[in-house]
Subunit: 99 residues, 2 copies
């Protein structure tokens, strides 16, 4: 499996709007086992996105999906930047592919 | 929802053993929507654990479950320490409670 843990910073005051766009874009992504969008309660403009994919290729392919491309286009002006970006190798657990 | 993102450091060379213990302890935790254990490919002794719970109380209650207590007791000697520990407020996505 292929995992990502990332912190995204929204433009000031735009986090809710950015999160809503990202949430719309996450359905129907082949190979996506988990994709969680979360607020950082200690950092008003920050979102954490944690992802688990079958493999790196499925994540890369998702970036070409029309719904994802639309979310990227709509969300990009609301993003101030990316901070933490960690690649992981998920081993297992709860909530990935129904396990 | 209540989320956690944490980086745990195993004693040198003990990561696989620690991960196996943690994976055994994650079944049947009421209120647990996601619990993913992952290797950090850039840091040989590090694990990332990302969690989504219905609420903070369900996470706290899980620490008293016999299987979790057993995993904590078995794993503790293999843990060198905790590094990153982030609390989040998950908003939604894929792989949490079947959504």
């Amino acid at each position: 499996m292929h995992g990502l843990i990332g912190k995204m910073r929204a433009q000031p005051g735009k986090r809710d709007e950015l999160a809503a766009i990202l949430l719309k874009g996450t359905g129907g992504m082949p190979g996506c086992l988990s994709y969680v969008i979360a607020n950082d309660p200690a950092d008003t403009d920050a979102l954490w996105i944690t992802e688990v994919w079958v493999d790196e290729a499925s994540h890369r392919a998702s970036l070409q999906l029309p719904a994802v491309q639309a979310a990227i286009a709509e969300g990009r002006p609301l993003i101030a930047g990316f901070e933490t970006q960690i690649v992981t190798v998920p081993l297992g657990g709860v909530g990935i592919g129904g396990t």
